[in-house]
Symmetry: C2
Subunit: 321 residues, 2 copies
């Protein structure tokens, strides 16, 4: 992955510059609230997938469609702002969540503003109008799916019998489709064939599911100082993650941790899960998903960008924050 | 207005049929929550403005772009669902608000789903891709403005010194721009010249401002059984409406009514405002806006549809619910 991390850094810098240009130093509290989470860091992974997918289809096209890369980051950030309200989370990317720093109404509106601007930025890309219409359609369907995924996720919190199939359906919608749309939109705006767009869409979908599984591992395993989120919030809330489901299958009921937990109690839960082989099982599941998803990329001609996309999948399931 | 009301009824029927087709009887609680307010009636005025504007530019084009008419209704409904959460309202269109019947998270998501589908439906219209990209841009900018308008509106609730200029800026964004976008999108998708699109946009903008002023009058004057909303909620919440501002200018401070009110107390407030000439002043302000806005329509060739657009403005400021 020697080339991936510098590439991701360069994309993050470009996106950060655009965010500075379009979202920072604008007057009014709502503009400040909309910019708050956007400017609090973030790895800009979805923009990187947009740009790599475009370049994998037509080298050099990513610069023409960088507005669409930003659009995917705006979409992602809008969903985080709204999810934080629904989940009652107070910390994100190391800063207060929007509805905590301001209030719930401002949080709803800050998300709604970014939502609107995502579609505006897609339309600003240098691409054919036909491609832009397809990209807008793809993004809008992704957004509707994300809502369903978040709703499913919340409905799972009232249950303790969610199975693996249900979990994967939820994660596909909540996280997979936005990576799918990132790859698909990059391809479409670069003028791909329908087959190439589909291959990249499916690559993004599966890699995105693996990303979320890794995110659930990070929620449990990475200290708050490093992740910028409340540690083990899933455990404390009794969330039906793949960790929880695979643990239950092996007779470990994590519902007993559904309460306030000390750091020692969290460490105890991790030990129990390691001893039971659960953590290893879940990691292996995510790795397998990435291996399968990379096969979709074989439809594209070999290129540096195709290689970087494969490395992104690998990166998704090995990162610790 | 002998032809307007049957026309509005026919548009409402068409839109209702599309809502039945695309939003009703779908499985899942989130789909039910998204459909709840859509199917609770509503006069479908924004769709009517889309269709009349299209036909005023090119007769017969409205049937090709009816998906865009639905898109404007979806956008409007998404803003209502989110506004009801922020404003804590429990009743809308004679039914429980979404976050009351379900819960706050489902309300946020139900709005977000309709938001996404608005953009999807714009893309489904039969029009050139170039026109659709312009329409998506216009809708996205309108949505961002609406958020700013709602935020301004809420910030006004903490003040008692909002002036007429500030109020009009807020209403322009909160209500005006969506009527402007309705008229502009109808024109653009029908293949209008930029001049025609601008004229229709400005018609919608001014008529929309008049619409909101009338809405504020209705909130005060129309009984809940007829309006389907909590009566005099603006008065009880101390909202800075044009009524409040013009009353203050004449030495009547409506802040004394910022509390729970009996029907008799509301009637007393109305008498005070009638005696002071406030209600008449506000009505006249709205009528003047419609008169000015109709001048923008003179750029279009005379047609039955242009006439109906003028009558819509008149209807907006004479309706009692």
């Amino acid at each position: 992955m020697s080339e991936l991390l510098p590439y991701l850094e360069s994309v993050a810098k470009e996106i950060d510059l655009m965010i500075d240009r379009y979202f920072v130093d604008r007057v009014g509290e709502l503009n400040k609230a909309s910019a708050h989470l956007l400017t609090a860091g973030g790895k800009r992974l979805r923009p990187a997938v947009v740009m790599l997918s475009a370049d994998a289809v037509k080298r050099g096209s990513s610069q023409d469609i960088i507005q669409a890369a930003l659009a995917l980051e705006l979409t992602h950030t809008f969903t985080l702002i709204h999810d934080d309200i629904m989940d009652g989370d107070t910390l994100r990317r190391g800063v207060q969540t929007v509805h905590t720093k301001w209030d719930m109404p401002t949080g709803i509106l800050a998300g709604d503003v970014l939502y609107a601007r995502a579609f505006e930025f897609i339309c600003m890309a240098k691409a054919s109008d036909t491609a832009k219409v397809r990209a807008v359609s793809m993004l809008s369907r992704a957004c509707a799916d994300i809502c369903e995924g978040q709703h499913l996720d919340m409905s799972f919190a009232k249950r303790n019998d969610v199975d693996e199939y249900e979990y994967l359906e939820m994660v596909k919608k909540k996280t997979g489709v936005l990576y799918a749309a990132a790859a698909g939109i990059g391809a479409i705006l670069a003028g791909s064939s329908p087959q190439q767009a589909k291959a990249l869409y499916l690559f993004g979908l599966n890699t995105g599911i693996a990303f979320q599984i890794q995110d659930d591992l990070i929620d449990l395993l990475t200290p708050a100082e490093k992740s910028g989120k409340d540690r083990a919030s899933d455990l404390r809330e009794g969330k039906q993650t793949l960790i929880m489901i695979k643990a239950r299958e092996k007779g470990i009921d994590l519902q007993k941790y559904k309460r306030d937990l000390t750091d020692e109690e969290i460490d105890g839960a991790i030990k129990e899960l390691n001893d039971g082989g659960i953590i290893a099982d879940v990691k292996s599941f995510a790795h397998d998903l990435v291996a399968v998803s990379n096969k979709h990329l074989s439809l594209l001609p070999p290129s540096k960008e195709r290689q970087l996309l494969m490395e992104i999948g690998e990166f998704f399931v090995t990162r610790s924050y």
